[in-house]
């Protein structure tokens, strides 16, 4: 395997979480599936990273590799440093003191992420008693505090109930409380609001943001919805076919999106405040098969600006973290006219979307 690239000179104060050239390769019966292929990012305390992409773009696998819950066929390379401490390749027993304690995760489906036969307080106190060595009583009191913190009314009563007695939004609040139990430094929300209805979605996102600001945690917000991450993140990484295709500070990304895929994603967001003829445009085709993926830009087959260069040579993202990075040969805002001759009709649609 390739040696992890070191990005820039090693700074004395390491960021809270830094992933460098992270690769998650799955050894499937069909062949090697590069679910995550060379991803780098860093998060400071109090900073939020938005991870956006279609289903199967590798965003979930990326965050799962940080939590050690990849399928057993996964092979993780590269480097993930939490406060300067390496996480990749650490023995499971040692890593268990980090998962749930310093990095915690909120899962997508609150319906299945709670154990149906255990009471809420049992599930909440579990990790505190494991990681912080709290006694039963102390942990129980803290569980009530946590339930209050995540905005659950009647926390004492709720703590004695079973998951099926709670609504979906409530349950997601409970899973957030579980994630917060050990005061983690990094909180990962893997599509934490996708399974909830929109009004509850907003409440949960606001809650996450509030708690993050209060505690100065680093947060990774995974979503397939650009609208969800737009106002709540400091930086956004757009993933496609296991690689980051565009990564930049949030404001910059929305103001000057460069990658064609980001452009297409934004074009696919439904909006109520635009005329009917500007309805969302679907991205043609489907994401590529990650096993049979060839050289060249992975998005080339679905891209309106793709030419021979795109099909042959894979564009590189660039190494400078913090800057606006994008992996595209024909970024938005450059030589659109030149491309127009190659493929007729479609590019003008794209231009319209930019306008």
């Amino acid at each position: 395997m390739a040696e992890p690239k070191t990005t820039g000179s090693p700074t004395p104060d390491e960021p809270l979480l830094r992933a460098t050239d992270l690769r998650v390769h799955l050894d499937t019966p069909r062949g090697l599936l590069k679910a995550v292929d060379g991803v780098s990012f860093s998060i400071e305390r109090g900073e939020t990273l938005g991870l956006v992409g279609e289903s199967g773009s590798g965003k979930s696998m990326l965050v799962r590799s940080l939590m050690g819950i990849c399928p057993s066929i996964a092979d993780i390379h590269g480097s993930v440093r939490l406060d300067g401490r390496e996480l990749v390749g650490v023995p499971r027993k040692e890593a268990r003191t980090i998962w749930g304690n310093r990095i915690a995760m909120v899962f997508q489906d609150p319906m299945t992420s709670l154990n149906p036969v255990l009471r809420i307080d049992r599930q909440l106190t579990e990790s505190m008693r494991l990681h912080l060595g709290m006694g039963k009583k102390e942990a129980g009191e803290r569980a009530i505090e946590l339930l209050t913190l995540v905005g659950i009314p009647e926390p004492v009563k709720r703590a004695r109930q079973y998951p099926h007695q709670l609504s979906g939004g409530m349950r997601q609040r409970v899973t957030i409380a579980m994630a917060l139990a050990c005061d983690p430094d990094v909180l990962i929300a893997d599509e934490a609001t996708t399974a909830l209805d929109v009004t509850v979605q907003r409440q949960i996102l606001d809650l996450l943001q509030e708690i993050q600001a209060e505690r100065g945690m680093g947060m990774i917000l995974v979503s397939h919805d650009l609208g969800v991450v737009a106002g709540r993140t400091d930086q956004i990484a757009v993933m496609y076919a296991g690689r980051m295709v565009e990564h930049s500070p949030t404001a910059d990304l929305f103001a000057h999106r460069r990658h064609r895929y980001t452009e297409a994603l934004l074009g696919a967001v439904p909006r109520l405040d635009v005329p009917r003829d500007q309805r969302p445009r679907a991205i043609p085709g489907a994401p590529p098969d990650l096993v049979t993926l060839k050289s060249g830009c992975a998005f080339a087959a679905r891209c309106t600006a793709a030419d021979d260069l795109c099909r042959e040579e894979r564009p590189e993202l660039g190494d400078e973290l913090g800057a606006h990075r994008f992996a595209c040969h024909h970024p938005v805002g450059e030589d659109v006219a030149a491309v127009e001759g190659v493929e007729s009709g479609q590019p003008s649609l794209m231009k319209e979307a930019t306008a």
């Binding site: 939590m67 050690g68 819950i69 027993k93 890593a95 268990r96 003191t97 980090i98 998962w99 749930g100 304690n101 915690a104 995760m105 899962f107 997508q108 489906d109 319906m111 299945t112 992420s113 709670l114 154990n115 149906p116 036969v117 255990l118 579990e126 990790s127 494991l130 990681h131 099926h164 899973t175 579980m178």
Partner: protein, 308 residues
């Protein structure tokens, strides 16, 4: 040879027409399961209470029975309902049927309960371990339970009875060993289904180790399935113990057992049918009740709702 090979086919074909519309049958089945008259269940519970009471009394307070199980007290082969309190009549040696059936219940219940508990503990543990670790561990455990399943049960029990002096302990041990693979498979299947669910992933993401996941996440969730299965296994074990007694390979004579009572009276079947039918009826009702209760438990716990 060819007739042997073709023989099962008509039977299969005969079963086919009812299976033409699987959706309809499924609906009919589930409907039946939900609307089963509960009077049957109440009857089953009442009957099992009587049996358990008899077993318990004979175990802790044998004095409450008016006659001892090993001693004759009056005319042999009295008909049921001829006298009070010996309303079940007497056996071929003039011993009280009532007392003997109660002591027989004690044997059946102890053998069935202890075997099931041993089977659940050992089999369940093996199943959980196999389900969590998979891979080589699962292979070895599967091999073990397959070997046990492949072994003809009656041969094992006969061998045990002939090697060791037949006693309650040897019978219980033999039956317990036979129940292990069933419970191993059941818990394994159930735990594998559970371990694919998100809350197990959540536990892993919280840094939980194997022991914690097996005992706190998987075990409680496999409990319902194991619970209802063990009631049904109890019924099977009672019949198995009865068969062994009938063959004279169970508890030695003065101590009564249901199968042994049937065996002793079988020669008089044409002249004194009640001699056989009384213990047969008790055995039948017990097995039937256990099946009803087990089935009911299964239906109750059989949750297809993803919300739970």
């Amino acid at each position: 040879m060819s007739t042997l090979e073709t023989a099962p086919e008509p039977a299969l074909g005969a079963a086919e027409p009812t299976g033409l519309r699987p959706s309809q049958i499924k609906r009919a089945k589930s409907g039946k399961a939900r609307k089963r008259p509960s009077i049957l269940l109440w009857f089953a519970i009442a009957w099992m209470s009587i049996v358990l009471l008899g077993a318990l009394l004979s175990l802790i307070a044998p004095g409450v029975f008016p006659h001892e199980y090993g001693k004759a007290f009056g005319d042999a082969k009295q008909k049921p309902f001829a006298a009070w309190p010996e309303f079940l009549g007497t056996d071929g040696l003039g011993r009280s049927h009532l007392t003997r059936l109660a002591f027989g219940a004690r044997v059946s219940m102890i053998v069935a309960l202890v075997s099931v508990v041993v089977g659940v503990v050992i089999g369940g543990l093996l199943g959980l371990v196999a389900a969590y670790f998979r891979g080589v561990t699962e292979m070895i455990i599967d091999l073990f339970s397959d070997a046990l399943l492949a072994f003809p049960p009656l041969i094992l029990l006969l061998a045990l009875s002939s090697v060791y002096e037949p006693s309650q302990t040897s019978i219980t041990a033999g039956l317990a060993v036979l129940t292990i693979p069933g419970f191993t498979r059941l818990t394994k299947a159930s735990a594998i289904a559970q371990s694919n669910r998100e809350y197990v992933t959540v536990a892993k993401a919280m840094g939980a180790g194997p022991g914690r996941i097996i005992f706190k996440e998987l075990l409680p969730n496999t409990f319902p399935a194991v619970m209802s299965y063990s009631v049904i296994v109890m019924a099977v074990l009672i019949v198995a113990e009865g068969s062994l007694s009938f063959l004279g390979l169970s508890i030695p004579p003065p101590m009564p057992s249901w199968g042994g009572m049937i065996n002793a009276a079988k020669d008089d079947l044409s002249l004194y049918p009640s001699q056989v039918f009384v213990p047969c009826g008790v055995l039948f009702l017990t097995v039937f009740s256990l099946n009803v209760i087990g089935d009911r438990l299964r239906a109750k716990f059989d949750v297809r709702d993803t919300k739970l």
